[in-house]
Symmetry: C2
Subunit: 402 residues, 2 copies
């Protein structure tokens, strides 16, 4: 529907402006991606994606996400350029699913990838761009749940949890099923202390006090390094003025095998699903032959639209459209001049009585209606009604375009 | 690639602004369309489109074009609204093909449909929006080849050419194969006069003198009405100031069975393919249960990009990006203020010597580079080079943002 499409495009344009202001260039990649590319990326989770064949018999997939196509682009077509790369995208992706609120087979995403730097400053920049983008979209109530996948990964390694146990922990965490999670942890063949350590890490949520509490759970230099890195990233985010948006949650793992450092999700009120998320994935580019560290995020535009609509709506200017009717020649000329002055104008194709013109303008949800009357025009403001106002062409252009 | 993507987005944004100024709202439809919808539209030509299955076993197709999905939208989801509908779109469509210049399996389109009016004034409006859109994209050398499908159709009916003969004429015209066309016409089982009439109509190309010459070929009241209508449309296009862009070509038929009135193609120089095209299709909406007359066009954005690039390039402002480097705190704060002032800023993640910073900024194709120096900043204009200029924060913001 046009009103909804206009709102989605407004969100997209707002985010595009933020991305550009941080120096991110936009890339456009094909909607159809070779299945072999997704296999190279080692992403089992896309097995169920939409598949089809091209003329050569190669298996194509409707892209399930944008990070892998961009990783391949950087590794192949941008090989003659020096990192870092700051790349943004606005694209639809596809995953077979039963449609429900916030979940559709085809979804619009706005996202970015910063490829070629493993600095915490870059992690902070990406978090800041995410916060700026959500603010620019008109979202007021939101927070970024921030975790660190390597902190938890190293803990599980040091405890000796096997891959089966890790998968079970991850899938219950992903489903946010805390009852199942407790059962999974209980069933692990590890000591009571280790069990408690796993539960303690997952329970670490809140403000910057989490960083202090997490120190007690450090068991190795790697865990200490991961924590220090997270603290530095947080300090740098505060320099961008977004400290109040960050909520630590060390139980956030998202796609566990894929992420190697920070992981985060954008949450808003009681929405029931994240608006977006991302993290650091230093292993992916190497699979395409160009090992580079990387961090990025994606925002679901349809989800963002739901969230913004629930918080006062998308802040687009009210419809200032105008219906211009009557004798063709003077109407068309006035319409042209008004368009140059920035006023959207719909013309009617024929001479029309005022009453009919006004009802057509109202049906089309336009604010203004003008009809030639001698050398002048009669102008109605449909929010006011009444007799209208008789104006010269110049005065009418000045009134609407000024 | 980012530079190309930025140009495509610029073309899209320019056209979006023109569409909005004429009162066209934007619609977004699914990329996957049910095969049955395309069958309802009676479009044999899409038999070769990309196909896949959804979970319920329904056959889906990657949409080969946008007019049919919009026709369905108007006939079903917009049933409670009154025509006319002015709807625009910016979308990718798909047709299996061997990629070549101006022809790809996935292509970006900008288009519109005006549904619910059969007035020549509306035909003229659509032609005017097309011309305005191409001008706004920075295209200088282009013309609109304008034909009238019913004029030719009625002629063939009156002569008694069977559907086989019509198909043969259409396919040789579509391939612009004049040798084959001559053979096809020669083989028709009709009188010499009739044969000559067909050849004469197809040969009618040029300025408004075509309208006069076509009068001699009129054989029925319907042909006379079609010609009068075309002349009125042309007169109205002149009122929009685009008379110089119109080139009559009564041999333009495009998709013969689909169009019922004007048909047109946007041509530019010796490009070898049209940049876009459209026409009046009064029969389509009825197939979805809401018979309404309609007219529309689509512009191929990739083709437009090729054409504009060949005519001086896309008129986007030169890259005004800036690299800001050095001590994190003052740099981040300055970066934030510059972004508010409309200057895109990339920050470097660490303290950097001037020489390295300048070479990184040059590699990233940025114009400005700034490094903190005491309480001030040293600013280089990379187009000039040299020692740079020492500026206070305020002066730097004023210089770049003003």
């Amino acid at each position: 529907m046009p009103a909804e499409a206009a709102e989605i495009r407004y969100l997209e344009a707002s985010i595009r402006e933020v991305f550009a202001s941080f120096g991110y260039g936009e890339v456009i990649t094909p909607t159809l991606e070779l299945e072999s590319v997704l296999e190279t990326a080692g992403e089992e989770r896309f097995r169920k994606s939409f598949r089809l064949f091209d003329e050569r018999g190669d298996v194509l997939m409707l892209r399930p996400e944008m990070t892998i196509p961009i990783a391949r682009l950087v590794a192949t077509r941008m090989q003659d350029r020096e990192p870092p790369f700051r790349l943004g995208y606005f694209a639809n992706s596809f995953r077979p699913t039963k449609p429900q609120r916030g979940r559709q087979s085809e979804f619009q995403q706005a996202g970015l990838e910063l490829i070629g730097s493993d600095s915490p400053a870059v992690d902070a920049e990406v978090l800041a761009v995410l916060c700026r983008s959500l603010e620019a979209s008109g979202l007021k109530d939101f927070s970024i749940a921030l975790g660190e996948s390597s902190f938890f990964r190293v803990l599980l390694d040091s405890i000796g949890v096997n891959s089966e146990g890790r998968d079970a922990i991850f899938s219950s965490l992903a489903a946010r099923d805390m009852v199942e999670l407790a059962a999974v942890v209980e069933a692990l063949d590890v000591s009571g202390d280790d069990r408690q350590a796993i539960i303690d890490v997952i329970a670490l949520r809140g403000g910057s006090e989490v960083l202090t509490a997490a120190k007690d759970l450090v068991r190795s230099p790697e865990m200490e390094a991961a924590l220090k890195r997270l603290a530095l990233t947080y300090y740098l985010v505060t320099r961008y003025g977004f400290a109040g948006r960050i909520l630590f949650d060390l139980g956030i793992l998202r796609n566990f095998e894929y992420y190697t450092g920070i992981v985060f999700e954008a949450l808003s009120g009681d929405l029931g699903f994240p608006i977006g998320g991302g993290g650091r994935y230093d292993g992916l580019l190497g699979r395409f032959g160009r090992p580079l560290p990387a961090v990025g995020f994606a925002i679901g535009l349809d989800r963002l639209h739901i969230a913004v609509t629930g918080q006062g709506g998308v802040p687009i200017p009210a419809n200032s459209g105008m219906a211009l009717v009557g004798g063709l020649d003077p109407a068309l000329e006035l319409a042209g001049e008004l368009r140059v002055a920035g006023v959207p104008v719909t013309t009617l194709a024929r001479e029309t009585a005022a009453a009919e013109a006004l009802s057509l303008a109202a049906a089309a949800d336009l604010r203004w209606c003008a009809i030639p009357e001698g050398d002048s025009f009669r102008l109605w403001d449909l929010r006011i009604g009444g007799e209208g106002e008789l104006l010269s062409r110049e005065d009418l252009i000045g009134k609407l375009g000024g």
